[in-house]
Amino acid sequence: MDFAFTDEQDALRQGVRTVLDTECSVDALRAFELADEDGRAELARNRWAVLAELGAPALVVPEAANGLGLGDVDLVGVLEEAGRACLPEPLLETAALAAPTLAALLPDRAAAAALAALVEDDVSFAVGGVDVTVDGVVSPTAVSADGTLRTPRVVGARDAAIALLACRDADSGWQLHAVPADSCTVYPTPALSSSRDLSTVHWPLDSETLLAYGVAAEAAVSLLADRAAAGSAALLVGLADRMLAMTATYAKERHQFGKAIGSFQAVKHQLANARVALEFARPATYRAAWSLATAQPTLSHDASMAKAMASDAADLAARVGLQVHGAIGYTWECDLHFFLKRTWALSRAWGDAATHRRLVLAQVRRGAKGTRTAMSDSRQ
């Protein structure tokens, strides 16, 4: 039993933080939101190049596939820092979802080609077509009359070179595809957070892009959903940490009734409650990363628990953050809103806290805290 990060892991996290402090400062977020379409794409491209130079996207790609060969416990701190910085680029999607999903499908040719693009061409990936519900994993991908697939809420599609997309129909079950961007038609979706790039993607069903189907695809998609829950929990922990830090700083500076508002118990106790929630969401999130890294049989349970606790902790930090900032926090000029919006979106993406609570309970009722694949029959 040694529930701690290594010095190397701490150093990696610190390195990412240092880079993001510059590359993804609040000024950079503001410029990103105000930029036109071309400017936005260029800013995204430049920041992604810096992340790629750090090795972040290929962190968990095996060395045999020219990746860094690290694991999910190394990655979790990096994701937490990405959350903390409100990084708009699809690091979760590329490094924590696409990379390990593709690596697990090697030596499949399509997977190998996509992974090579990730590692060698430093491209980012979009991910979509998988939703988490209390009844298990479902696909929102729709098939239209002409055979085109339509997947809503795909993250990162505008800038991605390849989209990892899933679909499911009742007859043939799940399919997982790696679709080149030039085969996709991308319709950006107006959404809450400028640092979460959502689109509806139209794409052709093509055997050339098929990575897996049937049982293999279902397993891959289920594991991807667990990865997404665990990874988004890490982002949310980072977001909560940042919002609490910003709010504590503001509470020390803002004076009313002749003293810093942070000296009022009403403010202190709200912040303390949010701090306590974060304190206990964190080990749950790190445990989920370890369960991923070591393929624990409790993985689905652990990932759901992490997402439930991190979503609640981040939602509380957002709520308290806005309340303590008062009207200032309600303005675009205040930095807070970038983090609020990202939190409100992410706490509900990949299954919200209530959904994951039910999934945790279903796992516990099954006794073994088994894998999520079998969850669709545990409706209650």
Binding site: A191, R196, Q323, D352, A354
Partner: protein
């Protein structure tokens, strides 16, 4: 005890419902935080005014129908039920007007109320300042006698003025006695926004729109007859307005019962995890409890009693109910909640953002809890 409306009140309800059905725009107006939307909403106020629906509880001479509080509540229920436009004139008609009816001169009432009722003149409020948010008594904007002695010169800065970007008039309090401390020496002024020396800086909101504004006053001349109430009595005059803001008139229960009804529909359409059923049921109950509480208080008022300090509970309750209703809707929408599409998702998201301001403005809920503890439970100050 009788919780039914009279035949006359039901007839009034039917009349209001019919008028609204015939007149409410089929498509939602553009956002009132844009110039075009502002004017569209002003036109709607004019439409209502022409048929005497804009201020039903006001005296007839100023454009109202001289109706009682229950009729006003009935009208509001129908108004929200019809999903009629937001009231661009709400700061004036719900916050300033009750104060003016109590403290204003006959000349002031005759001058200001009719164009307020018709939407010809829209008012914003100049309450908060950068360093006087929750602590309103910390106001530093000041008014001094002008050289001629027949008016005042205003200097300072106000902020968080809703509709401030487009309004014709502003009401607010300024310090007229710089020696007096905190709640003393303040005076309530009415200021034309086109007065020389007034500068407006719109403040972009969290959603990118510009509902708020900062207002800068640089040697703004204001004549004597634009003082509301006594010079130096601005705090008590202002508190009367704040009282109505927290009390009965700003947040009519219909707003919450209507939103809770829509939440129920969303739940029926979408289903949702069992956890949501509790949130949906609680939202329905809280909205209805707020409605009942308003009937309870209105019955006291109708019997000639004052609203009472219980009204300080209202602000906490409606603001938290509003957040809960919209939060529950976003939970039902799940991964669609972040979409800013027209129709259901975007509307709930807008509503959620708006609801989050509720526990902050009109006296933060922290301040309100102090008030409840001190005035209703007798706990010591400080």
């Amino acid at each position: 005890m009788d919780l039914t409306f009279s035949a006359e009140q039901e007839a009034f309800r039917a009349e209001a419902r019919a008028w609204l059905a015939a007149h409410v725009p089929a498509d939602p107006l553009p956002s009132l935080d844009t110039a075009a939307g502002f004017e569209a909403h002003r036109a709607w106020e004019r439409t209502m005014f022409e048929d005497r629906w804009s201020v039903v509880s006001w005296p007839t001479e100023y454009g109202g129908r001289d109706l009682g509080i229950f009729e006003w509540l009935v009208f509001e229920e129908e108004y929200y039920r019809a999903r009629a436009p937001k009231r661009v004139s709400q700061n004036g008609i719900f916050l300033l007007a009750p104060t003016m009816l109590e403290y204003g001169t006959e000349a002031q009432k005759a001058r200001y109320l009719p164009p307020m009722a018709s939407g010809e003149e829209i008012w914003c409020q100049g309450w908060s300042e950068p360093d006087a948010g929750s602590d309103l008594a910390g106001i530093r904007s000041r008014a001094a006698r002008n050289a001629g002695g027949d008016g005042w010169v205003l200097n300072g800065q106000k902020t968080w003025a809703s509709r401030g970007a487009f309004a014709e008039w502003c009401f607010g309090i300024f310090r007229t006695d710089p020696e007096a401390e905190r709640h003393r020496g303040l005076t309530y002024f009415l200021v034309a926004m086109d007065s020389p020396g007034v500068t407006v800086r719109p403040i972009p909101q969290i959603d990118g729109e510009t509902g708020f504004a900062e207002i800068f006053f640089d040697n703004v001349e204001v004549p004597e007859d634009q003082v509301l109430g006594e010079v130096g009595a601005g705090w008590s005059v202002a508190m009367a307005t704040a009282g109505s803001e927290r009390g009965l008139s700003l947040r009519s229960p219909a707003r919450y019962t209507e939103a809770a009804d829509r939440l129920l529909q969303l739940f029926h359409q979408r289903g949702g995890p069992a956890a949501s059923a509790d949130a949906v049921a609680q939202a329905h109950m809280d909205a209805e409890a707020y409605q009942l509480h308003t009937y309870w208080t209105a019955s006291r008022v109708a019997r000639g009693h004052a609203v009472g300090v219980e009204a300080s509970c209202n602000k906490i309750f409606w603001s938290e109910t509003d957040v809960a209703i919209h939060g529950a809707a976003l939970d039902l929408l799940g991964p669609d909640a972040e979409l800013l599409e027209a129709g259901a998702p975007g509307e709930w998201l807008d509503g959620y953002l708006f609801s989050l301001a509720g526990p902050i403005y009109a006296g933060t809920n922290e301040i309100q809890r102090n008030v409840v503890a001190e005035r209703l439970l007798g706990l010591p100050r400080g």
